[in-house]
């Protein structure tokens, strides 16, 4: 029988948030996450960034799939869609295409994005839809109580891999680079300051930005992605890394034993919205930032 310590520090945390004046971006809903979950740092980060960028609550839409990670939108006070398992990117695409004036942030877990949602990532990346996709990569299925995920380490024992996980994990960074994404970076929930910086950069990028956020599931993973393990493993990108060199970025992304944090790659190219407007012009029509939205 499991005993979970009462999350006293949770309320302190909310207090801190309150006093920090970031509250308006945080909803009154107390996150349902387990105390100590890496996700708390991400919600703080996004709230700060939105505020710092001066994006009004009314102009931000946070879209998610299903999972612990995907509870995210409820903890902000912007507009949001808590959609379906794996469908965060197409839903976010619909929002952005319909109204380019909106800032669209897509969030979800590793299972949500790279198992059931795997069909959609390459196309969001190649079309360069102007949204920010934050992947909460905890290497496990949290919400369903700890099954193996596409990014789980080899050997990981879970209720659906009771003897051990023998499936070679996927490498989200490497994959999204190969999809032709225009902005790719990595952060760690245990380094909130750096995380915040990366979220800010990703959100500032015009086009599809993918930020892989390593985050511990303190309840169901006591052996792999613990704060201590990750804390020791993560490192910075080589100082001389050139973030316009995609091949170099891929080389580093391959080194999964020492996950490097920072901006792997970025480039500037037309967004899906730009292209659709170009077609409209070609056809003799007149583009408008909001396709009827808010009629």
């Amino acid at each position: 029988m499991t005993h979970i310590a009462k999350p006293v520090h949770l309320d302190d945390k909310l207090e801190e948030v309150r006093s920090s004046g970031r509250l308006e971006y945080r909803s009154k809903a107390l996150p349902t996450w387990c105390p100590g979950c890496g996700y708390f740092a991400i919600v703080d980060g996004v709230a700060t960034v939105l505020k710092d960028m001066g994006i009004q609550l009314k102009d931000a839409v946070v879209v998610s799939g299903i999972g612990c990670a995907s509870r995210f939108p409820f903890f902000l006070s912007t507009y949001g869609i808590h959609s379906l398992h794996g469908r965060v990117l197409p839903v976010a695409t619909g929002v952005k295409i319909a109204n380019e004036r909106l800032t669209v942030i897509a969030v979800g877990g590793d299972g949500d994005g790279f198992a059931i949602g795997g069909c959609h990532v390459p196309h969001a990346a190649r079309r360069n839809i102007d949204i920010t996709y934050l992947l909460f990569d905890n290497g496990i299925y949290g919400l369903t109580k700890g099954q193996v995920s596409p990014t789980s380490a080899l050997g990981f024992k879970t209720p659906t891999s009771p003897y051990e996980n023998m499936d070679q994990p996927l490498n989200p960074l490497l994959m999204v680079l190969s999809h032709g994404a225009s902005w790719v970076g990595q952060a760690y929930a245990g380094h909130p300051e750096h995380l915040r910086k990366m979220i800010a950069m990703a959100a500032a990028h015009r086009g599809f930005s993918f930020l892989n956020i390593l985050s511990p599931c303190v309840t169901f993973d006591r052996t792999n992605r613990t704060y201590s393990n990750l804390g020791m493993a993560v490192c910075d990108l080589p100082a001389d890394h050139n973030p316009t060199d995609r091949l170099a970025a891929m080389a580093i992304a391959q080194k999964t034993d020492r996950p490097a944090l920072g901006l792997y790659y970025h480039t500037i190219r037309p967004t899906l919205g730009d292209n659709l407007d170009a077609l409209i012009v070609k056809a003799g029509g007149t583009p408008s930032p909001s396709c009827g939205a808010g009629r």
Binding site: F74, I81, I97, A98, N99, C119
Partner: protein
């Protein structure tokens, strides 16, 4: 009869330009002011040597389907045509190439298969074309010109149509085809006329009412979506729905609107929901296999009360089934396919004009009732052409959204606030103080997750009750009765494309003195129980013809009313045969099956 009612069939292989000939004939006759219904049958393969048949019914009065029997039959390839010569009525004309390229072995020539009473006409199409143009490329034009000549159809209309058809081609091509036409026309008109097969003068293009256009069902859907102000479209190609998307891909950008071909149907419908959340009028189109993939997202649209429009053109099922054949077997999936109590609006047009109306009205309903709306067509309706009169003013309300406006200062926005009509005012991204998060989880008025019994019960009630208003949606025909009033021996209950054949059968039955009425049901969910039940009260027998195996609509009626109906469920892959419906009517009316041979009106 004085009113014109002539059906022309053209049969050949894709390589013969069969469909192209049918298109020109159709457009020219419509140009000349007649009403037309036409439907082409293609081969399933990509390779272009399978059989093609183009059927065209030309009338002055409104009619509802093709006829069992053609009055004129043109063969461009006897090997394909021979099996179909039987469909020509007595004293009807069978027109063929009297000097085909290959000299056929005994019996391979169609003339050997014309039955007594049918009138064979041989013309040297190829020769006519070669003499007139120096090549046989225009053989099909020469052939259709023969028909035009035979019936003294207005040459001007044909020449205009040929010019526009080949407009993009080189001048020489146009000239050649015109020359072939003139030669063919001359040949046709030199021949003695069929006494009983005259074209009455056309009604002339209907004027005041609006503009007369000739459209197939998919083009009508595209036009309806556009006239209703579609903003965004997300879709994935699939036969027979693809041409809706292809038409929109051309038209939407001209109007500053956006279309994206997504990676699959799940993303198409998911993007529609995302766009719908912002207030955008968004739609997708697909067929059965795509619909099957959309089930989960449709459920999200239902519980999160986000408008979205899905046009489904049915083909033969199950699974990949028969992609180039028509069927009405996706009704169950449209009604019941999503898990949970996920009732939604399902409407099915019965003709091309209905495709236009239903597509446009779907946006009104999706917005007004904040729910997914499925518009059910089938391949037969998607590909069949009819003359349609379009009102000058699009008959669609461009904005049906019940918007939230903050009243007093410290009012908190409740996305799912209670409301008399169970439709809650919406705030959309960009609205200053309406921020909220929608979810697929059960929720309270604030759209916060909540799974308490009372809340789930109340929200379920809200989501179901609000739909009833659709049954009285402004300016929309939910169901309609035709035929005899009062008590009848046989009442016909039909939906979708099959209603056309049903109505024709009813008219024939009435002609045979059977008291008969027919009701078309356009709205399948919510179900117009009162209207249908009232109709059934008048009927000694209720017959439900439909193109599926399980009698899906018949089952729907029984599920709703707990009253028995007679199901006539067939899966020929093509339209239902009027004769088959008629035979069943006779049986129910207690008539011994008289004149079961093709009727010859």
């Amino acid at each position: 009869m004085s009113a014109t009612d002539i059906q022309i069939a053209i049969c050949g292989s894709a390589g013969d330009g069969t469909i192209a000939a049918g298109n020109i004939l159709r457009n020219a006759v419509a140009e000349a002011g007649y009403r037309v219904i036409s439907f082409d049958v293609y081969p399933p393969e990509i390779r272009g040597f399978g059989k093609c048949i183009s059927r065209l019914r030309v009338t002055t009065e409104q009619v509802y389907s093709l006829k069992e029997c053609s009055d004129v039959f043109l063969s461009l390839d006897d090997s394909h045509a021979i099996p179909h010569v039987g469909e020509v009525r007595d004293y009807g004309a069978v027109i063929f190439d009297s000097k085909p390229v290959v000299v056929n072995e005994e019996g391979a020539h169609i003339s050997a298969h014309v039955r007594p009473g049918q009138i064979p006409y041989g013309f040297p199409f190829r020769e006519i074309s070669e003499i007139a143009t120096g090549a046989n490329r225009s053989r099909n034009i020469a052939a259709l010109a023969v028909i035009a000549g035979l019936y003294r159809l207005p040459q001007a209309a044909f020449r205009r149509t040929i010019e526009t058809t080949f407009g993009k081609k080189a001048k020489a091509v146009i000239a050649a085809n015109l020359a072939a036409f003139d030669a063919g026309y001359a040949a046709g008109s030199d021949t003695f006329k069929l006494d009983d097969a005259t074209f009455g003068s056309s009604g002339g293009k209907a004027s005041g009412a609006g503009t007369v256009v000739i459209l197939n069902g998919n083009a009508a859907v595209a036009r309806g979506l556009i006239d209703a102000g579609i903003d965004t479209f997300f879709g994935y190609p699939i036969t027979p729905a693809t041409t809706i998307m292809e038409r929109l891909a051309i038209e939407m950008p001209k109007r500053g609107k956006r279309l994206v071909q997504t990676e699959d149907e799940i993303s198409a419908i998911a993007a529609c929901v995302g766009a719908g959340y912002t207030g955008s009028r968004s739609a997708t189109s697909t067929s059965g296999p795509g619909l099957a993939l959309m089930m989960e997202v449709l459920g999200l649209s239902t519980i999160a009360e986000v408008p979205c429009v899905v046009v489904v053109s049915q083909r033969g099922g199950p699974s990949t089934g028969m992609p180039t054949k028509t069927e009405q077997s996706d009704l169950n999936a449209a009604l019941y396919g999503s898990h949970g109590d996920s009732k939604r609006i399902v409407i099915a047009p019965t003709n091309v004009e209905g495709c236009y109306r239903c597509a446009g009205k779907a946006f009104e309903m999706a917005e007004r009732y904040q729910t997914p709306v499925i518009v059910l067509l089938d391949l037969y309706l998607s590909n069949r052409y009819e003359t349609v009169i379009l009102a000058r003013e699009a008959p669609f309300d461009r904005d049906c959204t019940k918007r939230w406006r903050k009243t007093d200062h410290d009012e908190v926005y409740k996305r799912f606030a209670q409301s008399k009509d169970d439709v809650s005012p919406r705030a959309i991204p960009g609205d200053a103080e309406g921020m909220h998060v929608i979810t697929g989880l059960e929720h309270n008025e604030l759209s916060r997750p909540n799974d308490q019994p009372e809340m789930h019960t109340e929200m379920s009630r809200k989501r179901h009750d609000k739909l009833d208003a659709a049954l009285t949606h402004p300016d929309f025909t939910v169901s309609k009765r035709f035929g005899d009033d009062g008590r009848v021996d046989v009442g016909l209950l039909a939906w979708g494309s099959t209603f056309g054949e049903t109505l024709e059968a009813m008219i024939k039955a009435q002609a045979e003195g059977i008291r008969c009425a027919a009701m078309k049901v356009v709205m399948l969910s919510p179900f117009p129980a009162a209207a249908v039940s009232g109709f059934m009260d008048d009927c000694r027998h209720v017959l439900v013809p439909e193109l599926n195996y399980e009698g899906q609509f018949a089952r729907l009626v029984q599920a709703e009313l707990a009253r028995p109906v007679v199901s006539l469920a067939r899966v020929p892959g093509g339209p239902m045969r009027v004769e088959e419906i008629l035979a069943e009517i006779r049986r129910l009316a207690g008539r011994t099956s008289v004149g079961a041979t093709p009727a010859t009106n």
